[in-house]
Symmetry: D3
Subunit: 136 residues, 6 copies
């Protein structure tokens, strides 16, 4: 069980601020489905709206990265941060947006490899090579 109430559609309808965000999520994602993340966040309509607006700004419209690539980055961060819900949610999303099995296998292999080298580097406390100390 969650630490917050998971708002039902009826709960959402009763709160104009929540209803407005749920309506926008449905319109933007072209689906009737509102997942538990939004339903839990909806206990605080201000944070719900701000978080949705942020996600919409980054993940829709004319993006530099493809939708599949965006979801893959999301899976990578969520895995390192150990967020089980997020891993399920974004893996489903990545597949829905067209991620192939080959891309997914490679993502997993990369995540495992990065975790391994991250830990080896940290244990060795390596100094950054001067060649890498160049800003954008």
């Amino acid at each position: 069980m969650a630490t917050v109430k998971i708002l039902s559609d009826a709960d959402a309808e009763a709160n104009p601020a929540v209803k407005a965000v749920f309506d926008d999520i449905r319109a933007t994602r072209k689906t009737d489905f509102i997942n538990n993340f939004w339903r839990g966040l909806a206990n605080d309509p201000v944070t719900l709206k701000r978080t949705w607006e942020g996600l919409k700004a980054v993940m829709t419209g004319d993006t530099a990265l493809s939708p599949v690539m965006q979801e893959m980055i999301y899976i990578a961060v969520s895995t390192a941060n150990g967020c089980n819900y997020c891993i399920h949610s974004h893996t489903a999303s990545a597949r829905a947006k067209g991620m192939t099995d080959a891309e997914y296998s490679e993502l997993l292999a990369l995540i495992g490899l990065a975790a391994q080298t991250n830990h080896l580097v940290t244990a060795m406390q390596l100094p950054v090579d001067p060649a890498f100390l160049v800003e954008g």
Copy 2:
């Protein structure tokens, strides 16, 4: 200072197992540069070889993801894991492989967004929606 010796080229030349891997890194990456990660790992030539072979298998040849995308995933995991050296190393690598400023800005925004939603989800202890409980 590192917790291990950073092997110089002379050190590497004196150890055939290390020299073999450094030669392969140079040939594969088409550069003379060997970074501190390999030089630190080289204290254990067996782990050096295994790690290099693993990285080469995943990150070279006919990959499902582009080299830039691979580096971006590496940056994402390294950031969540807080590996400073890795962040410098792979950001430099991503730029060298053609990551644009727009792609990089979007990567940063995604990493920040994912971290935020990861923590919100974890704090709320949300149950995974049945719709997401579908394997590949």
Copy 3:
């Protein structure tokens, strides 16, 4: 299932070292309830006692921070560390000690915000401003 035995009250009664700590927890917290953390830790009565004494020293008596504030800090650390049990336990505790819905909403928003800026900062590898390099 846990990796350790969850000691029942009967188990505790049979071990004087454990019984002494359980009695003190009950007396200090003015409740008969002993949660699974103490029941699991009780497999090692020495660590059980030391951990309880540490927690008692920090979280009871004449504290600088209010009980609710202490629990909110506990929730914050437990969320970043991804400890599901701890999040449930300390959220329940915070509410029992008087945390309001408004305070909880703000705590969640802060945790999400901090996670976001933590990751953005780490990805950018920012140097600490000299103005911040001042000890207490």
Copy 4:
């Protein structure tokens, strides 16, 4: 060195979108000081603005938690996430907003205690007590 350019005041003045945010930070915080976080984030004026607006919404105005308490929660999350810059920045901020030495000592003790119990719980894989499975 950062992975991004740290924008100077001159850089900011030259970009209206950045200037607008820097002006608002200065007006809101009643200080001329703009730290490296904003100067690094300013490479992407859209993310800069969204992040600042989010932080302003949560941390200013009529908040449920005091400014000092908010900074203490920020320190707690940043410590668990290992963000060195953030720890320096928010510890300085907490002190500037009135955090006492006694409050800070207690914060440190709580963070250490929480980390300890987080890890013990995780290692023991404890099931959540039914008594804790109650939403708000």
Copy 5:
């Protein structure tokens, strides 16, 4: 449910690359049991083989550390990284390899202590003592 298919023995038999690795795991571990980690990883036979070969190289044969000690290190890392499956798996393995209750209690106490001092150190942003800045 996993994000990948958990391969059954029949699935494995149908794929020579997977069968070869499963046969080797069984022969090396002298048991018929193949756990869910290998069954999930088997969706990508190349990563399956590479991961198994790496684990076999480090954890079998003439090792510097005893099998029990190796598993204890694995539990320690898995706990800090919050991998629930791994904690269950390696705790079972450590016990099967002879870890005593006294050793396990001490491991738990050490993990808790290390987490505590890790967080205290990080919050205090301590400079490394010159005496520690000595490589191997």
Copy 6:
């Protein structure tokens, strides 16, 4: 620079509670050296004493694990938690207590391997095998 004052020997001498702990550290460790961790923690003599007593209880006397093994576990947790100071401190300590190069190489290889499998498991969201669901 630290966020706290690093107490000098003169500072310690002036505070009986601190002096008592520093004297005990010196007597127990049979060295005059007091590292920055204790010097930073000493700003809060109560936490200093409790932390030292805890560490002394776990890491000295008749322990189930050897001193070198204890330090290796400490390095493992500190690496996963990304505590740079702790990694330097405990690696130096492990070597001082007799950790060989072969043991250290194996420790690094294990840490890297564990991180890799931790992340792969988490990404795959594997269910725990019933065979592992057995308490002590």
